[in-house]
Protein backbone atom coordinates (compact mmCIF):
# COMPACT_ATOMS: atom_id res chain seq x y z
CA UNK A 1 0.00 0.00 0.00
CA UNK A 2 2.79 2.40 0.84
CA UNK A 3 6.49 2.40 0.42
CA UNK A 4 7.80 4.73 3.09
CA UNK A 5 5.59 3.83 6.02
CA UNK A 6 5.23 0.33 7.33
CA UNK A 7 6.28 -2.47 5.04
CA UNK A 8 3.42 -4.80 4.16
CA UNK A 9 3.48 -7.83 6.40
CA UNK A 10 5.15 -10.96 5.10
CA UNK A 11 2.82 -13.72 4.04
CA UNK A 12 2.44 -15.64 7.28
CA UNK A 13 3.58 -19.20 7.69
CA UNK A 14 0.77 -21.69 7.43
CA UNK A 15 0.63 -22.87 11.02
CA UNK A 16 -2.47 -23.21 13.14
CA UNK A 17 -1.55 -21.03 16.07
CA UNK A 18 -0.50 -17.43 16.14
CA UNK A 19 2.21 -16.02 18.38
CA UNK A 20 -0.29 -15.61 21.20
CA UNK A 21 -1.74 -19.08 20.89
CA UNK A 22 -5.23 -17.70 20.44
CA UNK A 23 -7.31 -17.59 17.28
CA UNK A 24 -10.28 -15.27 17.34
CA UNK A 25 -12.93 -14.51 14.77
CA UNK A 26 -12.00 -11.01 13.57
CA UNK A 27 -14.51 -9.22 11.37
CA UNK A 28 -13.83 -6.01 9.47
CA UNK A 29 -17.09 -4.31 8.54
CA UNK A 30 -16.87 -1.78 5.70
CA UNK A 31 -19.88 0.49 5.26
CA UNK A 32 -18.29 3.52 3.60
CA UNK A 33 -17.58 4.40 -0.01
CA UNK A 34 -13.97 4.74 -1.17
CA UNK A 35 -12.25 8.06 -2.07
CA UNK A 36 -14.84 10.41 -0.56
CA UNK A 37 -13.19 9.58 2.75
CA UNK A 38 -10.03 7.70 3.71
CA UNK A 39 -11.74 4.94 5.69
CA UNK A 40 -11.71 2.34 2.90
CA UNK A 41 -7.98 2.76 2.27
CA UNK A 42 -6.86 2.70 5.89
CA UNK A 43 -9.25 -0.12 6.75
CA UNK A 44 -7.66 -2.19 4.01
CA UNK A 45 -4.20 -1.47 5.47
CA UNK A 46 -5.55 -2.78 8.76
CA UNK A 47 -6.80 -6.01 7.19
CA UNK A 48 -3.41 -6.63 5.56
CA UNK A 49 -1.62 -6.31 8.89
CA UNK A 50 -4.20 -8.48 10.61
CA UNK A 51 -3.41 -11.26 8.18
CA UNK A 52 0.08 -11.58 9.63
CA UNK A 53 -1.44 -12.55 12.99
CA UNK A 54 -3.08 -15.66 11.61
CA UNK A 55 -6.50 -14.94 13.04
CA UNK A 56 -9.81 -16.10 11.56
CA UNK A 57 -10.47 -13.01 9.45
CA UNK A 58 -13.70 -12.07 7.66
CA UNK A 59 -14.26 -8.89 5.67
CA UNK A 60 -17.80 -7.62 5.13
CA UNK A 61 -18.86 -5.04 2.55
CA UNK A 62 -22.30 -3.59 3.22
CA UNK A 63 -24.18 -0.32 2.61
CA UNK A 64 -21.84 2.03 0.71
CA UNK A 65 -18.96 -0.30 1.55
CA UNK A 66 -19.92 -2.43 -1.47
CA UNK A 67 -18.54 0.37 -3.67
CA UNK A 68 -15.05 -0.34 -2.30
CA UNK A 69 -14.69 -3.41 -4.51
CA UNK A 70 -16.18 -1.92 -7.68
CA UNK A 71 -14.03 -2.80 -10.68
CA UNK A 72 -12.37 -0.24 -12.97
CA UNK A 73 -11.61 2.38 -10.31
CA UNK A 74 -9.51 5.17 -11.85
CA UNK A 75 -8.99 7.94 -9.27
CA UNK A 76 -5.87 9.33 -10.95
CA UNK A 77 -7.77 12.09 -12.79
CA UNK A 78 -9.11 13.28 -9.43
CA UNK A 79 -5.55 13.34 -8.12
CA UNK A 80 -5.88 10.34 -5.85
CA UNK A 81 -4.10 7.02 -5.48
CA UNK A 82 -5.66 3.85 -6.83
CA UNK A 83 -5.55 1.29 -4.03
CA UNK A 84 -8.25 -1.00 -5.38
CA UNK A 85 -5.84 -3.62 -6.71
CA UNK A 86 -4.85 -4.37 -3.13
CA UNK A 87 -8.20 -6.09 -2.59
CA UNK A 88 -7.03 -8.68 -5.12
CA UNK A 89 -3.91 -9.27 -3.01
CA UNK A 90 -5.92 -10.29 0.04
CA UNK A 91 -6.11 -13.88 -1.13
CA UNK A 92 -2.30 -14.08 -1.03
CA UNK A 93 -2.47 -13.12 2.62
CA UNK A 94 -4.98 -15.92 3.30
CA UNK A 95 -7.81 -13.44 3.71
CA UNK A 96 -10.40 -15.33 1.71
CA UNK A 97 -13.67 -14.76 3.52
CA UNK A 98 -15.12 -11.76 1.73
CA UNK A 99 -18.85 -11.13 2.07
CA UNK A 100 -21.19 -8.68 0.36
CA UNK A 101 -24.67 -7.67 1.45
CA UNK A 102 -27.17 -8.69 -1.22
CA UNK A 103 -29.58 -5.88 -0.40
CA UNK A 104 -26.86 -3.22 -0.39
CA UNK A 105 -25.61 -4.42 -3.77
CA UNK A 106 -29.04 -4.48 -5.37
CA UNK A 107 -30.18 -1.11 -4.01
CA UNK A 108 -27.17 0.42 -5.73
CA UNK A 109 -27.80 -1.22 -9.09
CA UNK A 110 -24.73 -3.45 -8.80
CA UNK A 111 -24.24 -7.14 -9.58
CA UNK A 112 -21.41 -9.53 -8.74
CA UNK A 113 -20.01 -8.82 -12.23
CA UNK A 114 -19.17 -5.34 -10.97
CA UNK A 115 -16.75 -6.57 -8.31
CA UNK A 116 -12.99 -6.88 -8.74
CA UNK A 117 -12.72 -9.83 -6.33
CA UNK A 118 -14.69 -12.99 -5.74
CA UNK A 119 -17.14 -12.52 -2.90
CA UNK A 120 -19.89 -14.47 -1.25
CA UNK A 121 -23.22 -12.65 -1.42
CA UNK A 122 -25.31 -12.91 1.75
CA UNK A 123 -28.86 -11.76 2.33
CA UNK A 124 -29.70 -9.81 5.49
CA UNK A 125 -30.55 -12.89 7.54
CA UNK A 126 -27.37 -14.73 6.58
CA UNK A 127 -25.24 -11.62 7.12
CA UNK A 128 -26.80 -11.07 10.55
CA UNK A 129 -25.97 -14.67 11.49
CA UNK A 130 -22.37 -14.25 10.29
CA UNK A 131 -21.96 -11.01 12.26
CA UNK A 132 -23.49 -12.58 15.36
CA UNK A 133 -20.71 -15.15 15.65
CA UNK A 134 -17.80 -12.70 15.37
CA UNK A 135 -15.64 -12.17 18.46
CA UNK A 136 -13.87 -8.95 17.47
CA UNK A 137 -15.73 -6.53 15.20
CA UNK A 138 -13.69 -3.67 13.76
CA UNK A 139 -15.64 -0.91 12.06
CA UNK A 140 -14.58 2.39 10.54
Amino acid sequence: MSDNNEAPPPIPPDDDEDEFGVIKKFCYVNRKAPYGTVYALESLEMVLIAAAFDQDVSVVFMDDGVYQIKSDQAPEAAGMKNFSKTYRALEGYDVEKLYVSKESMEERGLTTDDFLVDVEVLDAAALSALLAEQEVVITS
Partner: protein
Protein backbone atom coordinates in the same frame (compact mmCIF):
# COMPACT_ATOMS: atom_id res chain seq x y z
CA UNK B 1 -22.13 -14.71 21.10
CA UNK B 2 -24.30 -12.05 22.70
CA UNK B 3 -23.64 -8.59 21.27
CA UNK B 4 -23.79 -5.01 22.42
CA UNK B 5 -24.45 -2.79 19.40
CA UNK B 6 -23.75 0.93 19.59
CA UNK B 7 -25.14 3.61 17.27
CA UNK B 8 -23.66 7.12 17.44
CA UNK B 9 -25.21 8.91 14.46
CA UNK B 10 -28.49 10.75 14.06
CA UNK B 11 -31.10 8.47 12.45
CA UNK B 12 -32.27 11.47 10.41
CA UNK B 13 -28.91 12.00 8.72
CA UNK B 14 -27.25 8.58 8.46
CA UNK B 15 -28.27 5.00 7.86
CA UNK B 16 -26.37 3.37 10.74
CA UNK B 17 -29.44 3.23 13.01
CA UNK B 18 -31.48 1.42 10.36
CA UNK B 19 -28.66 -0.91 9.40
CA UNK B 20 -28.02 -1.77 13.05
CA UNK B 21 -31.68 -2.60 13.68
CA UNK B 22 -31.81 -4.73 10.53
CA UNK B 23 -28.81 -6.81 11.59
CA UNK B 24 -28.97 -6.96 15.39
CA UNK B 25 -30.09 -10.46 16.38
CA UNK B 26 -33.10 -10.97 18.65
CA UNK B 27 -32.16 -10.56 22.29
CA UNK B 28 -29.06 -8.47 21.68
CA UNK B 29 -28.61 -5.00 23.15
CA UNK B 30 -28.50 -1.65 21.35
CA UNK B 31 -27.01 1.41 23.05
CA UNK B 32 -27.60 4.83 21.52
CA UNK B 33 -24.76 7.30 22.17
CA UNK B 34 -23.63 10.74 20.90
CA UNK B 35 -25.92 11.97 18.09
CA UNK B 36 -27.51 8.50 18.08
CA UNK B 37 -29.58 9.44 21.14
CA UNK B 38 -32.00 11.47 19.01
CA UNK B 39 -33.49 8.20 17.80
CA UNK B 40 -34.88 7.58 21.29
CA UNK B 41 -36.76 10.88 21.62
CA UNK B 42 -40.53 10.48 21.78
CA UNK B 43 -42.73 12.34 19.30
CA UNK B 44 -40.30 12.17 16.40
CA UNK B 45 -40.37 10.03 13.27
CA UNK B 46 -38.08 7.38 14.75
CA UNK B 47 -40.23 6.67 17.83
CA UNK B 48 -42.22 3.93 16.09
CA UNK B 49 -39.06 2.11 15.04
CA UNK B 50 -37.73 2.27 18.60
CA UNK B 51 -40.96 0.83 19.99
CA UNK B 52 -40.88 -1.95 17.41
CA UNK B 53 -37.21 -2.65 18.13
CA UNK B 54 -37.66 -2.74 21.89
CA UNK B 55 -40.02 -5.70 21.50
CA UNK B 56 -37.13 -7.93 20.40
CA UNK B 57 -33.99 -6.03 21.51
CA UNK B 58 -32.90 -4.36 24.74
CA UNK B 59 -32.59 -0.66 23.89
CA UNK B 60 -30.48 1.71 25.99
CA UNK B 61 -29.55 5.36 25.66
CA UNK B 62 -26.59 7.18 27.22
CA UNK B 63 -27.89 9.74 29.73
CA UNK B 64 -25.01 12.24 29.57
CA UNK B 65 -25.43 12.44 25.78
CA UNK B 66 -29.18 13.02 26.12
CA UNK B 67 -28.59 15.76 28.68
CA UNK B 68 -25.92 17.37 26.51
CA UNK B 69 -28.53 17.76 23.78
CA UNK B 70 -31.20 19.23 26.04
CA UNK B 71 -33.34 16.10 26.14
CA UNK B 72 -34.71 15.28 29.59
CA UNK B 73 -35.12 11.61 30.50
CA UNK B 74 -38.91 12.02 30.36
CA UNK B 75 -38.74 12.64 26.62
CA UNK B 76 -37.32 9.19 25.98
CA UNK B 77 -39.60 6.62 24.31
CA UNK B 78 -41.13 3.95 26.54
CA UNK B 79 -39.10 0.74 26.62
CA UNK B 80 -35.74 2.50 26.48
CA UNK B 81 -33.45 2.46 29.55
CA UNK B 82 -31.13 5.37 30.38
CA UNK B 83 -27.57 4.47 31.48
CA UNK B 84 -24.44 6.46 32.36
CA UNK B 85 -20.82 5.77 31.31
CA UNK B 86 -20.52 3.16 34.07
CA UNK B 87 -23.62 1.48 32.69
CA UNK B 88 -22.04 1.53 29.22
CA UNK B 89 -19.01 -0.27 30.67
CA UNK B 90 -21.26 -2.82 32.39
CA UNK B 91 -23.13 -3.50 29.13
CA UNK B 92 -19.85 -3.99 27.28
CA UNK B 93 -18.70 -6.43 29.97
CA UNK B 94 -21.98 -8.37 30.10
CA UNK B 95 -22.05 -9.06 26.37
CA UNK B 96 -19.51 -11.17 24.51
CA UNK B 97 -18.51 -8.47 22.03
CA UNK B 98 -19.24 -4.87 21.07
CA UNK B 99 -20.21 -3.90 17.51
CA UNK B 100 -19.98 -0.12 16.95
CA UNK B 101 -22.07 0.75 13.89
CA UNK B 102 -19.88 3.52 12.48
Amino acid sequence: MSKLHTVNKSPFDRNSFDTCLTHAEDGSAVLLIEDGVYAAVAGGQTAARITEASARLKVYVLGPDLAARGMADDRVCAGVSVVDYGGFVDLAAEHDAVHSWL
